[in-house]
C-alpha cells in the first residue's frame, strides 16, 4: 500500500475516549478563607460603642490607646499610694518647722528629713484600720481594672489587625483619617468579605446603630423625660442632677449589669419584649434597682473618698495655674444627652458643642447680676491694692517672701481677684441675648420652644444653665454624686420601673443584622415624627410615640447631611429632599422675589452640593444674604445664615476669602450695581476654582455642619410659626384623640407653675410637674391589663397609660391661650418668612 502523504493526520492529544480516572474529575480551586474577617460572630465586637473600631479610631490608634490605658493604671496606683504616703509617712512638724532637725553639716531642712522612717511608717499604716480598708478596696478595684485592661488589649489587638488587614489602614495614618473614611472602608469590605451575613451591603445607619445602640436608648429616655434627672428642690428650684456616677448606674441597670434588661450586647431579653407579665417584670426591675441602690449606699464612703482624692489631684494644679477655670463653663452631662441627636457619634457631638461654646458663654455672661458686679468690682479693687503692695515689696526685697504667710496671701489674693473679675462684665459687651441664643441654636440644634422671644429672661438663662453649667458646679456635683446617686436610685428610679419596662418594650425594634435597637434611632418620621415639626400628615405616631423637640426630624436631617451616601427609605427621602429644597429656596430664592436679577439661577439642589460645585454659587448664596439684609427682607433663615457666616470658619476659610470679599463689596453697593458686582464675584471665584478638586472630607464635614446649622435654624423657625398658628388645633386634637385627658384632675391642669406665671412654657421642655407624680401609677394601673395584651403600635391604649408620666401636659391650656394673642395673619403662612427688622439683623452683626 502506497504511502499517501496527506495533510490529514491523527490528532494526538485533543480527544480521548474518557478513560474513567481520578485525573479527569472536575477540579475545584478552593477560595480559602482569605481573611479571618468574613463572617464574624459578634459584629458588635467590631462595631461596639466603647472598645472597638470607633474607639480605636477616636483614640488615635493602638499605641496611643495602650499608653493611655497603662498611664491610667499607673495613675490609679499613684493616687492611692501618694495619698497613703502623705497621710502616714510625712512628719509635718518638720515641714512646718515646728520641730528642729539636728543636722550636723548644714542648717537646711531637706525634703527627706520630713519623711518618717520606713518601720514607723508601716507601723502607722498597719494600726490604722481605715487606711487598710481603703487600701484593700482600691487594691480590688485596681485588679479589676487590670483584668479589664488585659482583656481590652486583646480586643484592641484584634481590632488593630482588622484595621491593618481588612481595612488596609496602618496605625500611623489612623489619627489623620476621618471617621467617614473609616466608615466608607467598612462599607466597602462588607461587599468583599461579607462580615455581616444577613445582607450584602452594610449601610451607614447599620454601623451607627451598632456603635450607638445604648446611647440612642439613653438619648430617647432623656428625650421622653423618663430618667429621673430633674428635681424640684426647696431652695434651688428646679434642678438637674446627672453625673457620671448616676449615668454609670443607669447603664449598669439597663444594659450590661448582671440581670439587666439586655441579654447580651445586641438583644433585649425575650420576656421584656412581651407585654404579658409587665407588672411582674417591673417588680423585678424595681427590686434590682433597690439592690443596686443599696450596694451604692454601702460603697458610698469608698467612692466618696475616691472622688475627693481624684478631684484633688486632677484639679488643684489647674486651679492654681488658672483660677479662672472654675468660673468657666462646660456643657453638662445632661446637656450632652438632651442636645444629642439620635445616631450622633461622640466626636460629632463634641465638635458641634464646642462650636457653640463661645456663643453660649457669651450668652451666659450677659446675665451677670449687677449687685454682684458692684461688690466684685470693689472687692477686686481692695484685693488688688493689697496685692500690688505685696508684689511691689517683694520686688524691692525678696526677703518679704520669707515672712510668714506672705506667699500664701499673695496666692489667695490672686485667686480672689480672678474670681471677682469673672463677675465683672466686659466693658464692650452689648446685651443682645436673642441673637446670641439664635447663634447658639445654630450649633446645638435643640432648644425648648419657649426660649425663643424670652432669651432675655432669667428663667431662660437658668434653664440654659442646666445645659451649660459652671465647671466648679460640675466638679461639686461629681463629688456629691456618691451620696446622691443611691438616693435617686432608691427613691426616684424605682418608682419608674413600670414605665421603663414599657419603654423598652414599645420602643425596641429588631433590625436584621443589627439586633435590637431603639426604634427612635430608626428616625422614621412615620412612626416617631412630631406633627409640629414638619412631619404633619406624614406621621402616624401617637403622642407617646412622638419624639419631643423635633428630635426625630432634626436627627434625620443631621444624619442625612453627615452621611450623604446614605440611602434612606423612600418616604424619608421625600421628607429630606422636600425640606432641603425648601431651605434652599428660602436661602436663595427670597431675595429673588425683590430682584429678578438675582444671581442664584442655580438649580435647587442641596446647599452642600452648591457649596461644593463651585465657589461662584457659594458667593451667590452669601451675596444673596447680604442683599437681603440690605433690603429689609431677611428671612429667618437668612438671618441665621448670616449668623453662621459671621461665625463659622467658612467665612474666614482661606479658600473662600476672595470670593467672599467680592460678595461683601457687592453687598455694600446698592441694587443699582447689582449686575456688575455679580459678575465680579464670579470672575473672582472662577479664578480660585482650582482648589475644588482637593476638597478633603474634612472640608466636607465642615460644610456639612454649616448646612446642618442652617437646616436646624430653618426647622426651628418653621416650627415656631407652625406652633403659633396651630397650637389651638393641636391641643384640641390631642384632647380629642385621647380620652384619658379627662383623667387628669382639674387641679393639676389649672395649677399654675410658680415659675411660669407670665412665661409661656412649651410642653416639649421636660419639666417636673409638682403634683401629678401620683397619677402615673394609678392611670397605668387601670390600663395595665388592657395594655398587657397589646403590641407595639396600638395607639390609644399605650398612650393612655403613658401620656401622663410624660409630664408637662398640664400646661397645655395655658400655652394655647398665650400663643393665641400675638398672631398676625400673614405669619400663618408657612412659605412666608418672618420679616425681621433691619435693626435687629444689624445689631446682630454688631454683636459679632
Amino acid at each position: 500500500m502506497a504511502h499517501f502523504d496527506t495533510e490529514y493526520q491523527r490528532l494526538e492529544a485533543s480527544y480521548s475516549d474518557s478513560p474513567p480516572g481520578e485525573e479527569n474529575l472536575l477540579m475545584h480551586v478552593p477560595e480559602g478563607v482569605k481573611s479571618q474577617w468574613h463572617h464574624i460572630e459578634n459584629l458588635d465586637l467590631i462595631f461596639l460603642n466603647t472598645y472597638y473600631v470607633y474607639n480605636l479610631h477616636q483614640k488615635n490608634g493602638f499605641t496611643c490607646m495602650l499608653l493611655g490605658e497603662i498611664f491610667e493604671l499607673v495613675q490609679l496606683l499613684f493616687v492611692v499610694g501618694f495619698t497613703v504616703f502623705l497621710a502616714n509617712c510625712v512628719d509635718y512638724d518638720v515641714l512646718f518647722a515646728n520641730k528642729f532637725v539636728n543636722h550636723t553639716d548644714s542648717s537646711k531642712v531637706t525634703l527627706p528629713d520630713a519623711f518618717l522612717p520606713v518601720d514607723v511608717c508601716s507601723a502607722r499604716i498597719r494600726n490604722n484600720a481605715f487606711v487598710i480598708f481603703v487600701l484593700i478596696i482600691s487594691g480590688v478595684f485596681w485588679l479589676h481594672r487590670l483584668f479589664k485592661f488585659i482583656y481590652n488589649v486583646c480586643c484592641y489587638w484584634e481590632i488593630r489587625s482588622f484595621y491593618i488587614n481588612a481595612l488596609k489602614m496602618t496605625m500611623s495614618e489612623l489619627p489623620y483619617a476621618t471617621w467617614q473614611e473609616v466608615q466608607a472602608r467598612i462599607v466597602e469590605i462588607q461587599k468583599e468579605h461579607q462580615i455581616c451575613i444577613h445582607k450584602k451591603e452594610l449601610t451607614e445607619l447599620d454601623i451607627y446603630h451598632r456603635i450607638l445602640r445604648f446611647k440612642n436608648y439613653m438619648v430617647a429616655m432623656v428625650n421622653k423625660s423618663l430618667l429621673p434627672v430633674r428635681f424640684r428642690l426647696p431652695v434651688l428650684g428646679e434642678y438637674v442632677f446627672y453625673t457620671r456616677g448616676l449615668k454609670y448606674n443607669f447603664e449598669l441597670i439597663f444594659f450590661w449589669g448582671p440581670g439587666s434588661l439586655f441579654e447580651n450586647e445586641w438583644s433585649l431579653k425575650q420576656e421584656y419584649k412581651r407585654g404579658g407579665n409587665r407588672l411582674e417584670l417591673a417588680d423585678r426591675l424595681a427590686s434590682r434597682i433597690l439592690w443596686i441602690g443599696i450596694a451604692n449606699l454601702l460603697l458610698c464612703p469608698v467612692i466618696l473618698v475616691w472622688q475627693i482624692l481624684y478631684a484633688f489631684f486632677s484639679y488643684t494644679e489647674v486651679i492654681k495655674r488658672e483660677p479662672g477655670s472654675l468660673g468657666a463653663r462646660c456643657w453638662s452631662l445632661y446637656g450632652r444627652c438632651y442636645l444629642r441627636h439620635f445616631n450622633e457619634l461622640d466626636h460629632e457631638l463634641m465638635s458641634r458643642l464646642s462650636k457653640g461654646y463661645k456663643a453660649a458663654s457669651k450668652y451666659m455672661n450677659c446675665f451677670l447680676s449687677p449687685l454682684l458686679t458692684v461688690v466684685a468690682k470693689n472687692v477686686a479693687f481692695f484685693a488688688g491694692s493689697l496685692l500690688a503692695v505685696l508684689i511691689a515689696l517683694t520686688i524691692y526685697d525678696e526677703d518679704v517672701l520669707a515672712v510668714e504667710h506672705v506667699l500664701s496671701s499673695i496666692t489667695l489674693l490672686g485667686v480672689c481677684i480672678t474670681i471677682c473679675r469673672s463677675f465683672i462684665p466686659d466693658k464692650h459687651m452689648v446685651f443682645c441675648p436673642e441673637q446670641l441664643l439664635r447663634v447658639i441654636l445654630a450649633h446645638i440644634h435643640y432648644m425648648p420652644d419657649h426660649w425663643q422671644g424670652n432669651a432675655h429672661r432669667y428663667e431662660t438663662r437658668d434653664q440654659f444653665s442646666q445645659l451649660f453649667q459652671y465647671k466648679a458646679v460640675f466638679i461639686l456635683e461629681e463629688l456629691l454624686s456618691p451620696v446622691v446617686t443611691p438616693i435617686i436610685l432608691i427613691f426616684c428610679l424605682r418608682r419608674k420601673s413600670l414605665e421603663i419596662i414599657d419603654f423598652f418594650r414599645n420602643f425596641t425594634v429588631e433590625v436584621v443584622g443589627v439586633g435590637d435597637t431603639c426604634s427612635f434611632a430608626q428616625m422614621d418620621i412615620r412612626q416617631h415624627g412630631h406633627p409640629a415639626w414638619m412631619s404633619e400628615g406624614k406621621t402616624e405616631a401617637s403622642i407617646y410615640q412622638q419624639a419631643e423637640d423635633g428630635k426625630t426630624e432634626l436627627s434625620l436631617m443631621h444624619f442625612a447631611i453627615t452621611n450623604p451616601q446614605w440611602q434612606p427609605p423612600r418616604e424619608t427621602t421625600h421628607f429630606i429632599s422636600q425640606l432641603k429644597e425648601r431651605v434652599h429656596r428660602e436661602a436663595t430664592g427670597a431675595p429673588s422675589d425683590t430682584h429678578p436679577m438675582s444671581l442664584s439661577e442655580s438649580e435647587p439642589r442641596s446647599l452642600i452640593a452648591n457649596l461644593l460645585t463651585g465657589p461662584s454659587t457659594l458667593a451667590s448664596v452669601h451675596f444673596d444674604r447680604d442683599i437681603s439684609l440690605a433690603n429689609h427682607a431677611a428671612a429667618g433663615i437668612n438671618d441665621g445664615g448670616s449668623a453662621l457666616r459671621s461665625l463659622s470658619p467658612i467665612s474666614s476659610s482661606l479658600h473662600l476669602r476672595g470670593s467672599l470679599s467680592a460678595a461683601h463689596r457687592a453687598a455694600g453697593h446698592t441694587s443699582r450695581t447689582m449686575a456688575g458686582s455679580g459678575t465680579d464675584a464670579r470672575t473672582v471665584s472662577s479664578g480660585s476654582s482650582a482648589w475644588e478638586g482637593q476638597l478633603t472630607s474634612l472640608v466636607l464635614s465642615e460644610y456639612a455642619s454649616t448646612e446642618m446649622s442652617i437646616h436646624a435654624l430653618y426647622m426651628h423657625e418653621l416650627h415656631k410659626q407652625q406652633s403659633r398658628g396651630e397650637m389651638s388645633r393641636h391641643t384640641w386634637h390631642r384632647q380629642e384623640s385621647d380620652e384619658s385627658s379627662d383623667s387628669i384632675p382639674d387641679e393639676v391642669r389649672s395649677e399654675p407653675i410658680p415659675h411660669s406665671r407670665n412665661f409661656p412654657r412649651s410642653h416639649t421642655f421636660p419639666t417636673t410637674v409638682p403634683s401629678p407624680s401620683a397619677i402615673p401609677t394609678s392611670a397605668s394601673a387601670t390600663s395595665s391589663t388592657a395594655l398587657g395584651q397589646e403590641r407595639k403600635r396600638c395607639g390609644s391604649c399605650i398612650v393612655r397609660s403613658a401620656r401622663v408620666p410624660m409630664g408637662g401636659w398640664a400646661e397645655d391650656g395655658q400655652t394655647a391661650q398665650r400663643h393665641h394673642e400675638p398672631l398676625p395673619e400673614e405669619s400663618l403662612e408657612d412659605e412666608m418668612p418672618p420679616h425681621i427688622h433691619k435693626v435687629n439683623a444689624l445689631s446682630f452683626c454688631v454683636c459679632y
Binding site: 477540579m27 475545584h28 480551586v29 478552593p30 478563607v33 482569605k34 451575613i197 443584622g513
Partner: protein, 211 residues
C-alpha cells in the same frame, strides 16, 4: 447575632415525632452536605459523589430523600430519639424544639479554646397532640404528610436563596468548615440541640444555642 435563623413549626402525634424530625433534619442536611473533598497538589480538589436514597415513613404518608450514609443517619437518629424520649417524659402535651445549627470553627491561640461561630440555625418547633380515635389518626397521617411536603419546599426555597455560605476551605482549614469524620459524606459542621417546654406553657429558656 450574626447568623441566619429559620423556624419551622409542625404539629404531630406522639408516634410521628421521630419520623417527622428525621424527615426535616435529613432534608436540611441533604442540602448542606457535599461529597468528600480530595485535595490535589496544586491547591485544587475534587469532590466525591453523594448517594441519595428515598425513605418511606411508617406513620406518615410521606417519603423523603436523604443522603445515603448510614453513619450520618445513625447520628441523627440518636439525637432525635433522645429528643423524643425527653418529650414523652416531659408530661402530657409536650412542646419542644429541636435545633440544627451549622457553624464554623475559628482556631484560637493557646489559652482560649476554639470558637464555634454559627452561621445558620434551623429551629423546628414541635407540638404534640393526642388523638382520640383511629379515624382522626388516619386524617392526621395524611395531613402531616402534606404539611411536611410544604416544609420541605420551604427548606428548599430558603436554601435556594443565595445567601452566605462559608467559603470553600483549603486543605488545612477543611476541618473548620466541614465535618470530615464521616467516610462517605461531608456535611457542614453542625450540631443538634433540643429544648423542652414544660406543660405549664412557660417557656424554659435554657437555650443551648449560642448565637
Amino acid at each position: 447575632m450574626n447568623c441566619r435563623s429559620e423556624v419551622l413549626e409542625v404539629t404531630v402525634e406522639a408516634r410521628q415525632v421521630e419520623e417527622a424530625m428525621l424527615a426535616l433534619l435529613h432534608t436540611i442536611l441533604l442540602h448542606r452536605s457535599t461529597g468528600k473533598f480530595h485535595y490535589k497538589k496544586e491547591g485544587t480538589y475534587s469532590i466525591g459523589t453523594v448517594g441519595t436514597q428515598d425513605i418511606d415513613c411508617d406513620f406518615i404518608d410521606f417519603t423523603f430523600v436523604r443522603v445515603s450514609s448510614e453513619e450520618l443517619d445513625r447520628m441523627i437518629r440518636k439525637a432525635v430519639s433522645e429528643f423524643k424520649d425527653a418529650l414523652s417524659n416531659s408530661g402530657s402535651d409536650g412542646m419542644g424544639q429541636i435545633s440544627l445549627e451549622f457553624y464554623q470553627k475559628k482556631k484560637s491561640r493557646w489559652p482560649f479554646s476554639d470558637e464555634c461561630i454559627p452561621w445558620e440555625v434551623w429551629s423546628i418547633k414541635v407540638n404534640v397532640v393526642n388523638l382520640a380515635n383511629e379515624q382522626e389518626r388516619q386524617i392526621c397521617r395524611e395531613k402531616v404528610g402534606e404539611k411536611l411536603g410544604e416544609k420541605v419546599i420551604n427548606v428548599v426555597e430558603v436554601i435556594n436563596r443565595h445567601e452566605y455560605l462559608p467559603k470553600m476551605p483549603t486543605q488545612s482549614e477543611v476541618d473548620n468548615v466541614f465535618d470530615t469524620t464521616l467516610k462517605d459524606v461531608q456535611p457542614y459542621l453542625y450540631k443538634i440541640t433540643y429544648q423542652i417546654t414544660d406543660s405549664l406553657g412557660t417557656s424554659v429558656s435554657t437555650t443551648m444555642r449560642r448565637d
